[in-house]
C-alpha cells in the first residue's frame, strides 16, 4: 500500500508547516508546498498527485480558486481538492462552489477536521459518499486506485498491481504482488466499480485481474496467476474463457 500524495497550496509558511506536520504524522506523503498559483501549477503537473489542499487566498487574492478552476479544465487531469479558508464571504463561496466537486475547511481547524476534509474530498470526487465513516465499507475505488481507510489512515493501492480479490463475507482479501490485505466492501459493489474489461469473476469468491492470468486449467478448474497464485474456476463462471483467443 502506498501513501497518499498531497500537494499543499498555501502562502503562509506557518500554516503550511503546521499542515505538513499534521499530514505527515498521519502518513500522507507531501509532494510539495506551493506558495503561488504558478508554482502550484508546476508542481501539480510534474508530480503524481492524489489530493490538493488549496488555500483560497494566496497573497490576498483568490488565486486558490483560480488554480482549482485551471486544473478542472483538463478533463482527465482532475483531482480531488479541499479549500481552506478563513473567510465566510458568500461571494467567494459562490465562486468556489462552481469548481465541483467542492469541499472546504474553515480555518482554524484541528487535526481531525483536516483529515476528515481530505477523506470527504476523495469521497465526493469519486462520487461514492458515506464510505469512510460507514461500518460496512472502507474503500473508495477510482479508475486506477483503491483508496483504503485503514486504522484511521488513508492509503492507496494501484489497481494494476492487484492479482486477484478473494471475497470473504463482508470483506475482500486483496492480493497484490507484494502484499495481501483486507478491505471492507461488498462483492456486488466492488464488481460494480471495477472495470469489467480488466477484472472478471471466476468463482463465487474470486475476482481475477485478467492481465495477471498465466494459465487456465479448465479440467482442474484452476487458474494460475502471476507469482504462482492459484485461483479456483467454477463451472458457473467458465464462460469468461471464451473472451480469450484460444490457440489450437
Amino acid at each position: 500500500m502506498d501513501n497518499i500524495n498531497v500537494l499543499i497550496v498555501e502562502d503562509t509558511p506557518a500554516e503550511s508547516d503546521a499542515l505538513v506536520e499534521v499530514l505527515s504524522e498521519n502518513n500522507y506523503n507531501i509532494v510539495g508546498v506551493a506558495r503561488t498559483h504558478q508554482e502550484a501549477l508546476t508542481l501539480f503537473y510534474q508530480n503524481t498527485i492524489d489530493i490538493v489542499v488549496i488555500d483560497v487566498f494566496l497573497d490576498g487574492k483568490p488565486d486558490g480558486i483560480t488554480f482549482a478552476e485551471t486544473i478542472n479544465i483538463v478533463p482527465d487531469g482532475q483531482k480531488p481538492f479541499v479549500f481552506l479558508t478563513s473567510s465566510k464571504d458568500r461571494q467567494i463561496f459562490e465562486r468556489a462552489k462552481l469548481t465541483k466537486p467542492f469541499s472546504f475547511l474553515m480555518k482554524p481547524f484541528n487535526e481531525l477536521e483536516i483529515l476528515y476534509a481530505l477523506e470527504m474530498a476523495v469521497e465526493k470526487f469519486y462520487e461514492q459518499t458515506n464510505v469512510f465513516h460507514s461500518e460496512d465499507q472502507n474503500t473508495v475505488i477510482s479508475r486506477d486506485s483503491l483508496f483504503i481507510k485503514k486504522n484511521k489512515v488513508l492509503k492507496k493501492v494501484q489497481i494494476k498491481d492487484i492479482l486477484y480479490i478473494e471475497v470473504e463475507d463482508r470483506y475482500c482479501n486483496i492480493i497484490t504482488d507484494a502484499e495481501k490485505f483486507v478491505i471492507l466492501i461488498s462483492l456486488t459493489k466492488i464488481i460494480q466499480l471495477l472495470d469489467p474489461a480488466k477484472f472478471c469473476q471466476t468463482h463465487r469468491n474470486y475476482i481475477v485481474n485478467l492481465s495477471k492470468i498465466q494459465q487456465i486449467n479448465v479440467n482442474d478448474n484452476l487458474i494460475i496467476l502471476k507469482g504462482n497464485h492459484k485461483v479456483t474456476l467454477s463451472d458457473k463462471y467458465k464462460d469468461f474463457v471464451k473472451n480469450f483467443r484460444i490457440l489450437k
Binding site: K88, D89, E111, L112, Y116, N130, S134
Partner: protein
C-alpha cells in the same frame, strides 16, 4: 281700339280667378277620394306622405314623396302620383312639366277628366285656344255620370271663352249663355259675375252695346254683393268704360272713382296684407330670435350641468383617491411604527451586546495582562512550576476570548446574512468528535469524563459550519457548568422519521425551571445576566437558537438544579431521495 284693349285686359285678368275658384271647389270631393285611397294603401308610407302634403298644398314636399312613391313597386297609385305631381307643377306655374305629368295619367284613371280640364285650362292660359277647346269639348261630351264633381257650367264657360278668343262669336254666345244659365241655377254668384262679364264683353266686342250693357250692369250689381275687391274693381271699371263710351261722363267719373276706390282698397288690402306679412315675418323673426336665445340658454345650461357633473365626479374620484391614499399612508405608518419599534429593540440589543462583549473582552485582556506580568515576574525569579500554571491559565483565557469573538463574528454574519450556508449530509459522530477534539485539554484539566456515544449510522442534513458552532457552544457551556470530575456525554436518542435527536448531557449545576423557560423563549433579545462569574453574554445561546432554526431544527432543554442539564437538539435527517 281703346275699348277692345280694355276688354282684353279684363278677360285675361278674369282667368286666374276663374281657375282658382274651380280648383278649390273640386278639391273637397277629390280629397275624400284620395283619403280613401290612402287608407286603402296605408302601408305605402310615401303615398300617405304625398297625399298629406298635397291636401296641405305643400307642393314641394308633395313632389318629393310622389317621386319616391313612383319609384316604388306599387303601380296602382301611379296615376294619383302623376296627378299630384301635375297639380303641384301647375300650382308652381311650371306648365310644361305639368302638361307632361298630366299626359302620363292613364285613361283608366277615375279622375282623368280633371286632368283634361286642367290641360285645357293650361292651354287657355298659354293662349292655345284650339287645343283648349279640344280638351273642353272632350269633357263636355262625357256622360254626366262619369263626371263626379265637375260643374258643367265651368266647362261651358271655358268653351265659351275659347270661342270668344277664336272669334266664333255665335258659338261663344251659345256656351256662355249655357254656362250662365247653369250658374244661375247653381246660384254661383262669383262664376256668374265672370259669365255675365264675358257675355257683356262678347256683345260689346260686336258693338251690340244695348245687349252688352245690361250684362255689365248685372255683373256690376252682383259684384256689389260679393266681397272680392278684384271682382268689384273689374265690374266697376267695365261700367266706367261703358259709361265713358256712352259719353255719360259724370256717371263714368262716378264709376271711375268707385273703381279707384276699389283699386285703392285692393291696394290697401294688399298693403295691409303686405304689412301683415311683414309683421308676421317680423314676429317670426322675433320668435326665432327668442327660440335662438332659449336654445343658447339651454345649451349653456346643458354645458353648465355637464361641467357640474364632471366636476362632481372628479371631486368624488379625488375624494376616493384621497381616502385610499390616507388609508394606505396610515397602514404604512403602522408598519413603519412597528418596524421602528423592532429596530429600536434590535438597536438596544446591539448596544447591550456591544457593552457586554466589550466588557468581557476588556476583562479577558486585563486578566491576560496581569497574568503576563506575573509570568515575567516568575520568569525573573526562575519559578518554573508557577509558570506552567500561569501559561495554562493564559491559554484558557485566550481561548475563552477567542470563542467569544468567534461567536460575535458568526452572530454578525448571521444577522447580515453574509455567511455561506450550504446544507448537506453530515456524519454526526465525526462532527462531534471534531469539536470535542479542541476541548480535550480543557476537560482533562477539569478531570471531566467525556463520552461520545453518537451512533455511527446517524447522518443529519445541516450546514457543517453552523452545526459545529452549535455543538461547540453547548459543549463549552457543559464544561463551564460542570464541576470537577463531572461527566459529559453526547449521544443520540432514538430518532424519529424526520429528526435526529442529539443530546449533550452534563452533570453540572443545572438550572431553574424559569431560566430554562427563559432560554427557550423565541426572542431576539439577549437573556439577562444572572451570574456574572459563570454565565456569559448569552450571545452563544442566541446564536445557537438562530442557527438551529436556520437548519430547520429544534431545541429543547431538560434540567434539574444541581443534578445536570440535557440539551436536546433535533436536526433534520438526511434523506437520500427527497
Amino acid at each position: 281700339m281703346v275699348k277692345i284693349k280694355h276688354f282684353l285686359f279684363l278677360i285675361i285678368i278674369s282667368f286666374p280667378f276663374l281657375l282658382f275658384s274651380q280648383l278649390k271647389f273640386d278639391s273637397k270631393l277629390f280629397s275624400s277620394e284620395i283619403k280613401k285611397k290612402a287608407k286603402e294603401f296605408n302601408e305605402e308610407f310615401n303615398f300617405n306622405k304625398a297625399q298629406y302634403f298635397f291636401l296641405e298644398n305643400n307642393w314641394d314636399s308633395t313632389l318629393v314623396y310622389s317621386m319616391k312613391q313612383l319609384s316604388s313597386e306599387n303601380k296602382e297609385l301611379n296615376d294619383y302620383c302623376h296627378y299630384f305631381r301635375a297639380t303641384s307643377f301647375n300650382n308652381k306655374k311650371l306648365f310644361k312639366e305639368a302638361k307632361k305629368e298630366f299626359n302620363l295619367i292613364s285613361s283608366k284613371f277615375k279622375f282623368k277628366y280633371k286632368a283634361k280640364l286642367a290641360l285645357g285650362e293650361i292651354a287657355l292660359k298659354q293662349n292655345e285656344f284650339r287645343k283648349g277647346l279640344k280638351y273642353f269639348k272632350e269633357i263636355e261630351n262625357l256622360p254626366n255620370s262619369s263626371i263626379y264633381d265637375l260643374k258643367k257650367s265651368t266647362v261651358f264657360h271655358n268653351i265659351g271663352l275659347c270661342y270668344l278668343h277664336l272669334k266664333k262669336i255665335d258659338e261663344a254666345e251659345k256656351y256662355l249663355f249655357k254656362a250662365s244659365k247653369l250658374q244661375e241655377l247653381e246660384k254661383d254668384t262669383l262664376m256668374l259675375i265672370g259669365s255675365y262679364t264675358d257675355i257683356a264683353n262678347l256683345y260689346y266686342e260686336q258693338y251690340k252695346d244695348a245687349q252688352a250693357i245690361p250684362y255689365f250692369e248685372k255683373a256690376y250689381n252682383l259684384s256689389r254683393k260679393v266681397k272680392s275687391f278684384e271682382l268689384k274693381q273689374n265690374a266697376t271699371l267695365n261700367m266706367a268704360v261703358v259709361e265713358e263710351n256712352r259719353k255719360n261722363f259724370p256717371l263714368a267719373l262716378t264709376y271711375r272713382k268707385e273703381y279707384e276706390a276699389w283699386k285703392d282698397s285692393l291696394n290697401d288690402q294688399n298693403k295691409v296684407w303686405a304689412i301683415a306679412d311683414l309683421e308676421k315675418k317680423f314676429a317670426i323673426k322675433q320668435k326665432q330670435k327668442e327660440v335662438d336665445v332659449l336654445a343658447a340658454e339651454n345649451k349653456a345650461k346643458k354645458a353648465e350641468r355637464n361641467v357640474f357633473f364632471i366636476s362632481s365626479v372628479l371631486l368624488f374620484v379625488m375624494f376616493g383617491a384621497g381616502v385610499y391614499f390616507y388609508r394606505q399612508k396610515a397602514k404604512n405608518n403602522k408598519i413603519i411604527l412597528a418596524q421602528k419599534n423592532q429596530l429600536d429593540e434590535l438597536n438596544a440589543t446591539k448596544d447591550k451586546l456591544f457593552s457586554i462583549v466589550s466588557h468581557d473582552l476588556r476583562s479577558s485582556v486585563n486578566a491576560l495582562k496581569t497574568s503576563n506580568g506575573k509570568l515575567m515576574e516568575n520568569l525573573k525569579h526562575k519559578n518554573y512550576s508557577e509558570l506552567d500554571v500561569l501559561l495554562h491559565k493564559n491559554s484558557s483565557i485566550a481561548s475563552g476570548a477567542y470563542n467569544l469573538l468567534d461567536n460575535l463574528l458568526n452572530w454578525a454574519l448571521l444577522q447580515t446574512q453574509q455567511a455561506y450556508f450550504y446544507r448537506e449530509s453530515l456524519h454526526l459522530a465525526t462532527i462531534v468528535q471534531h469539536v470535542e477534539f479542541n476541548y480535550k485539554p480543557l476537560m482533562f484539566n477539569k478531570n471531566i469524563n467525556f463520552r461520545n456515544d453518537v451512533v455511527a449510522a446517524d447522518h443529519v442534513f445541516a450546514d457543517l459550519d453552523s452545526l459545529k458552532i452549535i455543538i461547540r457552544n453547548f459543549l463549552d457551556n457543559a464544561i463551564k457548568f460542570s464541576k470537577e470530575n463531572g461527566t459529559i456525554s453526547i449521544y443520540t436518542r432514538p430518532s424519529s422519521e424526520e429528526f435526529c435527536y442529539l443530546v449533550i448531557e452534563d452533570t453540572g449545576l443545572g438550572m431553574k425551571e424559569s431560566t430554562r423557560k427563559e432560554l427557550l423563549k423565541e426572542t431576539i433579545l439577549l437573556s439577562k445576566k444572572q451570574n456574572d462569574d459563570i454565565i456569559g453574554t448569552g450571545l452563544g445561546m442566541q446564536l445557537c437558537k438562530s442557527l438551529i432554526r436556520k437548519n430547520e431544527g429544534k431545541l429543547d432543554i431538560e434540567s434539574e438544579e444541581n443534578v445536570g442539564t440535557r440539551i436536546i437538539i433535533a436536526l433534520p435527517k438526511f434523506k437520500n431521495h427527497g
